[in-house]
């Protein structure tokens, strides 16, 4: 009897100390609700864009199945029906060549920053400028490659790759340096204690232990580069619809270029091809992102 009384007393005391439903706590909850609302608001365009791309693009991609991937782009614009093979090949080849240029150089740049330069003045300058370079508009990089490359050698896939590589380089440097920073110093010390030289230590100890993070950073950079359009305008041209496997000469085409062209059309045929190309491009970009995530999470689990 007395214990229950006590408990009741304690509960009342506790209730007295806390103010019930004050304006302050309501305000706090209101702000939290607004923050969540912000998330919902940004979901609307995301769902709208992906939903439209899937609903308008998936049809043409999967109708008489391999045709979309194997057939050429119809020469006459008003023709209805599939065919985006050249653009898919172009995207893969040009982005691939850009990755071959930017990824090794970017990783080496990060090795310079974190393993050799560290906090020295030149390294700090390079680090700062590489951050700044991330913000250079893609169209400026495109014009730059036009001026130094395309003017001399003409439109070609390589020009596009060069422009994309310039855009990827600072991204790769940045993400790789973050990953190198996570490699503990005692690994390096152990390697030195065994008499290994620095270059070999970097190649056989430091880079392999940072590899999953580096790979996922690079994949994200590739996913972004595959969607770039502006720098390609000046370097591979926008006119051609033909496949061109020789990236060293002649105009070329990519999915992004085809989307841009077809976005200005009013007829249903080209518009549908534009949506189909958008579907394909988004699928490629998402695929790379998902692989990057899987690599990261597999690595985290292993640790």
């Amino acid at each position: 009897m007395s214990t229950t009384l006590n408990r009741v007393g304690a509960e009342q005391l506790a209730l007295d100390l806390r103010t019930k439903r004050s304006w302050r706590s309501t305000k706090s909850q209101l702000m939290v609700a607004l923050m969540f609302l912000a998330f919902i608001v940004i979901l609307i365009p995301l769902i709208a864009v992906i939903g439209t791309v899937v609903s308008k693009g998936a049809g043409i991609v999967f109708r008489d199945f391999p045709a979309w991937f194997t057939k050429g782009i119809p020469g006459r614009t008003r023709v209805v029906g599939p065919g985006m093979g050249p653009a898919i090949i172009g995207t893969l080849v040009i982005t691939g060549a850009a990755s071959l240029l930017a990824i090794p150089l970017g990783i080496l740049g990060a090795v310079y920053l974190h393993e050799y330069g560290r906090q020295s003045k030149p390294a700090q300058v390079v680090r700062f400028l590489s951050n700044v370079m991330t913000g250079v508009p893609s169209i400026v990089m495109g014009l730059f490659v036009y001026v130094i490359f395309t003017l001399r050698f003409g439109l070609s896939g390589v020009g596009g790759s060069l422009a994309l590589a310039c855009l990827m380089l600072p991204v790769v440097i940045r993400s790789t340096e973050e990953m190198l920073r996570l490699v503990p110093d005692h690994l390096r010390e152990a390697s030195y204690a065994l008499g290994t030289r620095k270059g070999r230590t970097v190649l056989t100890i430091v880079l392999p232990s940072a590899l999953p993070g580096v790979v996922s950073g690079c994949l994200l950079a590739v996913a972004r580069a595959a969607g770039e359009t502006a720098p390609l305008l000046f370097t591979i041209g926008l006119i051609t619809k033909k496949a061109n496997l020789n990236i060293f000469s002649g105009a070329n085409t990519t999915l992004s270029a085809q989307i841009f062209r077809n976005a200005g059309e009013v007829l249903p045929g080209p518009q549908e091809r534009g949506w189909g190309a958008a579907f394909t491009l988004v699928a490629i970009a998402f695929l790379f992102t998902i692989i990057a995530r899987l690599v990261t999470s597999a690595y985290q689990k292993r640790r």
């Binding site: 302050r24 923050m35 912000a38 940004i42 050799y116 370079m133 730059f144 958008a278």
Partner: protein
């Protein structure tokens, strides 16, 4: 920022290790083998590549644009007449369009981004944190040309009704009446601003998250222990602490918005010489003009377009340099280095 390793026995030794390993390496590798030296110089060259590319961009682009500068003089910046057949190239209205759309994008994106970043870092449980981060990152993966396609074929068609309603609602109201002005167009500054806002939100969110997460846990707990509600804790501890970094994050978003090309080119409406507050009017921005007019340009016009790219380059670089400096400084201050 020395290489602080997480797995070393105690924080005291780990902070020393950063210096130690540099000393150690200097002693050990004073005379490296030839392969070692070759690797080292390759790494140095790769680091120097950044300087080389940025230097070359500046030099070659300025070099190519001299024709336009000498032809137009200062009028290049101060005139709003862009008339290629008469060889008159004034880019004032395009500078205005670039800045105005970027500002509209910021007005929409900043409250959203800050809200999302605060929710992810301060409110959401761990599983929700990860899911929300993935979802926001998905936005960053959608290529800009896809946003442009959606903007021109879907958004600009369906949003016109809303614009008309806004325009008639604010008709006659002093300032808002001219901002939400008459004759709304589907392809306009505002449509471009919406698309840009969607595109820069993931960038601002991810940077803000990083900045906000540097708020010391004990300051937040102190605020809560004093009886602050969650919002009061955010206002009293988190926001003052990360103010500098947040400003930097927003500026990086601004830089990105100014340089965005394809999506804007498709939805901005491509109207020349338009300078005015009306957000529902069509206009043009520098990258959009370069994209649209490059194809049939003669030598002088190409030079003018490159000069416009140089202007854009300088503007974005300035914004980025300031932003990076602000972020670096605030990070340094919070990490106490």
């Amino acid at each position: 920022m020395t290489a602080i390793n997480t797995s070393s026995p105690s924080p005291d030794t780990s902070s020393v290790t950063g210096n130690d390993i540099a000393t150690l390496e200097r002693g050990l590798h004073a005379s490296g083998g030839s392969a070692d030296r070759a690797f080292k110089s390759t790494a140095y060259l790769a680091g120097g590549l950044v300087l080389l590319v940025l230097g070359l961009v500046t030099y070659t682009m300025v070099n190519r644009s001299t024709d336009a500068w000498s032809h137009m003089g200062l009028d290049f910046f101060t005139s709003r007449t862009w008339n290629p057949p008469e060889q008159v190239y004034g880019i004032l209205s395009y500078i205005f369009g670039t800045v105005y759309t970027a500002c509209i994008a910021l007005v929409i994106s900043v409250p959203l981004s800050l809200g999302i970043a605060l929710f992810i870092t301060q409110v959401a449980p761990r599983w929700l944190q990860r899911t929300m981060t993935y979802v926001i990152d998905l936005l960053a993966v959608v290529p800009s040309v896809v946003f442009g396609l959606w903007g021109v074929l879907v958004l600009s068609v369906h949003i016109k009704g809303f614009y008309t309603w806004m325009s008639s609602t604010f008709d006659g109201v002093p300032v808002l009446g001219s901002v939400f002005g008459p004759n709304p167009q589907g392809r306009s500054f505002f449509t471009a601003g919406i698309i840009l806002a969607v595109m820069i939100t993931p960038i601002i969110v991810s940077l803000s998250r990083e900045v906000i997460q540097t708020t010391p846990q004990n300051e937040k707990e102190a605020a809560l222990a004093l009886g602050a509600t969650r919002w009061e804790m955010i206002r009293g501890a988190v926001l003052p602490h990360s103010k500098g970094g947040l400003v930097g994050a927003v500026m990086l978003g601004l830089g990105r918005a100014m340089g965005e090309t394809i999506a804007v080119a498709l939805v901005i409406g491509s109207a020349t010489g338009r300078i005015g507050l009306n957000v529902f009017a069509g206009g043009n921005s520098m990258p959009a003009v370069i994209t649209a007019e490059w194809g049939e340009a003669d030598v002088l016009k190409k030079s003018a377009l490159i000069a416009m790219a140089v202007t854009l380059f300088v503007m974005t670089i300035l914004v980025n340099v300031i932003a990076t400096t602000v972020v670096n400084r605030s990070m340094k201050k919070t990490r106490g280095i």
